[in-house]
Subunit: 232 residues, 2 copies
């Protein structure tokens, strides 16, 4: 058994994915928050799920709110960074929009836990989560800016008030689709490519999307190589 | 003061909108659940907010779960009914799709409390809420059926796996938009017409939407007159 980070030795062998105790705590909390609810989860339950003492957990996170804040920030930090890299490395507004929607939807679909389901918690509107709301807002602004450029490129601007907000909303629809699949309300068929293509169509794009998809995937592959994602 | 329904006389005069004590309880619970969270709300708090004794509340609802189940059912019962009336009273698949999205988005935008924010609660995936999940699934099936007809009418079917699910997801995006507006993350600019028009575009519609919007509004007005909505 390897002991990583600060705190006392672990009570048992590693139970969770994650290279460090901190990552294991985040993984356990993400599971409990999304399956039992945030209010319904105690720090004790998180420590038990990791197999560490509560006191050890406090070396990493002072409160349950801190854990939630870290998890929520982790869901938007990657896309904000990728959006900036996409902007710097691609000049086609249609490919840009597709690439951002594809990247973001893919990570929402592939993440171990459906953390976006926590965005609507009343707690998240409190001061403690202002950092998260600021970063998510930055992501929304980047989406809107890409969307406006794509709208202009499509020669359409009369799609109704709020149209530049639609791609961001469609991408976050992945959260509801996953949640319905978890509760067996619905088979999970919506793919990141379907959502990325639909984002373009909400902005007036009516042509085929195969070659755009191809360029976007190539761009994301290049970016993934030159700028690997940091861990939460 | 009029005392309606069963239970003891009210402690005070009416504080809440609603013709009956039952409706006042539902309104108070909707406010508390959406602003303090479901787990963070006790039946005592709901009774206090209405100005009745807890014992009186139990004449109307045996548990907090029963209140939530009634509220959630209320968010989908109207649209399911309207979808059936739209199907029986309109044969144009494009107008049908627009009308359902417009009706449903309008009620999500106009409801006093943003109850859709509670759909992702882990509690809602338990057996107690099977009725709600069944009815919401029926609504999804109706959306998909309208969407498939609209896709066929648009001559397009290669929009990617899950495409018929997109209008339903776009409509539910109104929930996130309202929640962001409440927490001041974003001004609330997205309109029901923008979402209804975007729903059509995700299904391959690339023409103008003015005359469709006009027909859909006329249809909904006729239906509202012939089939007024029941209260929850």
């Amino acid at each position: 058994m390897t002991v990583t980070g600060v705190g006392r030795p672990r009570l048992s062998t590693r139970r969770r994915p994650g290279a460090t105790a901190r990552e294991e705590i985040l993984d356990a909390a993400a599971e409990l928050f999304t399956t039992r609810g945030f209010t319904g989860t105690s720090t004790r339950m998180i420590a038990d799920a990791v197999g560490i003492r509560q006191a050890s957990m406090y070396h990493h996170f002072a409160t349950k709110d801190d854990i939630l804040a870290t998890l929520l920030l982790g869901t938007v930090a990657g896309p904000v960074e990728r959006a900036e890299q996409i902007r710097l490395n691609c000049e086609d507004p249609i490919v840009r929009m597709y690439a951002l929607a594809l990247f973001d939807t893919s990570q929402l679909a592939a993440a171990r836990w459906n953390l976006g389901a926590l965005y609507l918690l009343p707690e998240v509107s409190t001061e403690r989560f202002a950092d998260f709301r600021r970063l998510r807002n930055e992501l929304m602004v980047r989406y809107s800016s890409f969307a406006l450029d794509a709208l202009r490129a499509n020669g359409g601007s009369d799609c109704g008030p709020g149209t530049p907000e639609l791609p961001f909303r469609l991408v976050e629809a992945m959260i509801g689709a996953r949640s319905d699949a978890n509760s067996r309300a619905r088979t999970f068929v919506l793919t990141p490519h379907t959502i990325a293509a639909a984002s373009l169509r909400t902005l007036g794009w009516s042509g085929p999307t195969e070659s755009i998809a191809h360029s976007a995937v190539a761009l994301l592959d290049r970016l993934a190589e030159s700028h690997p994602q940091p861990s939460p």
